[in-house]
């Protein structure tokens, strides 16, 4: 019986084509006198033969067309960035640029405003650069600044112009967003 257990292992190995010549001889010899193992071997071979000979199945011609239509009605393969991802990147870039422009703009405006305020103040005891620094540092004291600014007609005109330009830029940005030239939300 113990020998038959070993033979079972040998049959399994035989099915996988892993038998050595010596093992094959042993298997053949055992099966020539043991009817049970001979039958077991035969059953295994019948099962494997049946599996090997199960026909390959055809899903039909219509399948290719269905798959191709499904795939190629969508975006092509090389576009591996989805439309949502692309919109996210565009939105991120717009935000990044906007914040950059805002920062740069505020610095430039500060410089110009500081320079002009220098003239407006008529505070010649301080130098040009010192005046800009003074304005940037103490600019929060708007009341005192405005008091001096509005004393000078040129500074007032400058400030009103900056205010108007800011409002116009903001309006243009909002209009662009609404006209969807920047981000098309329908395609998200």
């Amino acid at each position: 019986m113990n020998e038959c257990m070993n033979i079972y292992e040998l049959i399994q190995k035989e099915l996988d084509g892993e038998l050595t010549t010596k093992e094959m001889e042993l298997l053949d010899k055992h099966c020539s006198h043991c009817f049970a193992c001979q039958e077991l071997r035969q059953d295994f071979f019948q099962t494997i033969y049946g599996l090997n000979n199960l026909p390959e199945l055809d899903p039909g011609e219509a399948l290719i067309e269905t798959i191709m239509n499904t795939i190629y009605s969508k975006s092509p393969a090389q576009k591996n960035i989805s439309s949502k991802g692309l919109t996210g990147i565009v939105a991120g870039l717009v935000l990044f640029c906007s914040s950059g422009i805002f920062l740069l703009g505020s610095v430039i405006i500060s410089l110009i405003a500081g320079g002009l305020l220098y003239l407006g103040y008529e505070n010649f005891s301080l130098g040009f650069i010192e005046n800009i620094i003074y304005w940037l540092t103490y600019g929060y004291n708007l009341l005192s600044v405005f008091k001096h600014v509005f004393n000078n007609p040129y500074s007032s005109i400058f400030l009103v112009t900056v205010l108007l330009l800011s409002m116009v830029s903001f309006t243009i940005l909002v209009m662009l967003l609404y006209s969807r030239r920047i981000i098309n939300y329908e395609k998200v």
Binding site: D16, L51, N52, P55, L57, I64, I67
Partner: protein, 177 residues
């Protein structure tokens, strides 16, 4: 000129529609056979094949030209077929086993009595053994290739195949008696 699977996959990556169609033509039968033998009914198998090729297409950018295409395709096929089984409700499982007993009208292929019994017995195998046996004895893949496809150690795959075919043998013997 006949292109290899890998060449066709690269051409498909570059947007060649005909190359991808050629890949489907080459592999639709093997993929359908695996799905049908594993899932047991043609409607699910057809859906699985469709999903397999769509997923292949969507993942083409990830295909490395140094790798072979076939194991990659079979890996995706196996994962999708397993997903179909997972999604099945218990009552659907019963329904499919009944259908397989009665024979699927859409799989209009004449089988010998033994083959018909094998087909039914295969569907009664535990899933992990079933897929291993299908890949080994129906698709005739090497053990190492099956291990790669199923993402299992080589010895585990051997055990699954051996246990699977042993159960099949016993089931077929019972039918004979």
């Amino acid at each position: 000129m006949v292109f290899t699977d890998e060449q066709l996959a690269i051409k498909s990556q570059q947007g060649d529609k005909q190359a991808f169609e050629e890949l489907i033509k080459r592999y639709q039968k093997p993929v359908f056979t695996i799905c049908y033998r594993y899932l047991g009914n043609s409607q699910d198998a057809l859906d699985a094949v469709q999903e397999t090729f769509i997923r292949i297409y969507n993942k083409l950018a990830l295909f490395d030209a140094n790798n072979t295409f076939r194991p990659w395709l079979y890996k995706i096929t196996v994962n999708i077929a397993k997903d179909f089984i997972k999604k099945r409700k218990p009552w659907e499982e019963l329904d499919f086993s009944l259908k397989s007993e009665l024979g699927d009208p859409q799989a209009n292929i004449e089988l010998t009595q033994v083959q018909e019994q094998i087909k039914k017995a295969l569907l009664k195998l535990p899933e992990k053994y079933r897929m291993a046996v299908i890949l080994r004895h129906i698709k005739e893949l090497e053990y190492q290739e099956i291990a790669n496809v199923l993402n299992l150690p080589l010895n585990t795959v051997k055990t699954h195949v051996r246990r699977g075919r042993d159960i099949l043998r016993i089931q077929l013997k019972e039918v004979e008696l």
